[in-house]
Amino acid sequence: SQQGEEDPQALSIQEGENATMNCSYKTSINNLQWYRQNSGRGLVHLILIRSNEREKHSGRLRVTLDTSKKSSSLLITASRAADTASYFCATVYSGGYQKVTFGIGTKLQVIP
């Protein structure tokens, strides 16, 4: 079955540094999304990239998608302490019934 798998599972950086998280998946997709979950809070949608797009930007976020390698990366530039959270990639399978599938997540800690 399809599953997004984030890498690394935990990342600790200093404030101001860039953070890069990767996600791999197994089947053809319609789109890939990144979500953030702050401790004790719900999931917040960050960005969606469609299967025919290669790169997308939103503020300090940059997402790339390589469908040939079935992988995506999320780059957070100039990180802040408030970016401390868990980040999940989620994919929507392109065949048959559409369902969002999440990965295990990357726990990012930004040290002030």
């Binding site: 999304q33 559409q98 369902k99 999440f102 990965g103």
Partner: protein
């Protein structure tokens, strides 16, 4: 516009007890989803309602879990009897018809079974 709301935010119960989680989707969203994240693991799909009908309940772990969406508005997820492995965060999401990829998530209910 109000977002997806969930109640309670946190529930602590003993093994064998019953707990009912509630989700109120965004008004007008026919699609309603339940997900669960067990500590340290991925967020797993549980089931999907379209209005009051269960479109897909393939993710429901076992028959101790019962989801309902009477009237096609809010939904409840009942766990009876609760087991230790049911502990985790239960998320609800909703979306408009035909926009499964644009789901809006609630804050989640943290369930702790002791």
């Amino acid at each position: 516009e109000a977002g997806v709301t969930q109640f309670p935010s946190h529930s602590v119960i003993e093994k064998g007890q019953t707990v009912t989680l509630r989700c109120d989707p965004i008004s007008g969203h026919d699609n309603l989803y339940w997900y669960r994240r067990v500590m340290g693991k991925e967020i797993k799909f549980l089931l999907h309602f379209v209005k009051e009908s269960k479109q897909d309940e393939s993710g429901m772990p076992n028959n101790r879990f019962l989801a309902e969406r009477t009237g096609g508005t809010y939904s409840t997820l009942k766990v009876q009897p609760a087991e230790l492995e049911d502990s985790g965060v239960y998320f609800c999401a909703s979306s408009q018809v035909g926009r499964v990829y644009e789901q809006y998530f609630g804050p989640g209910t943290r369930l702790t079974v002791t």
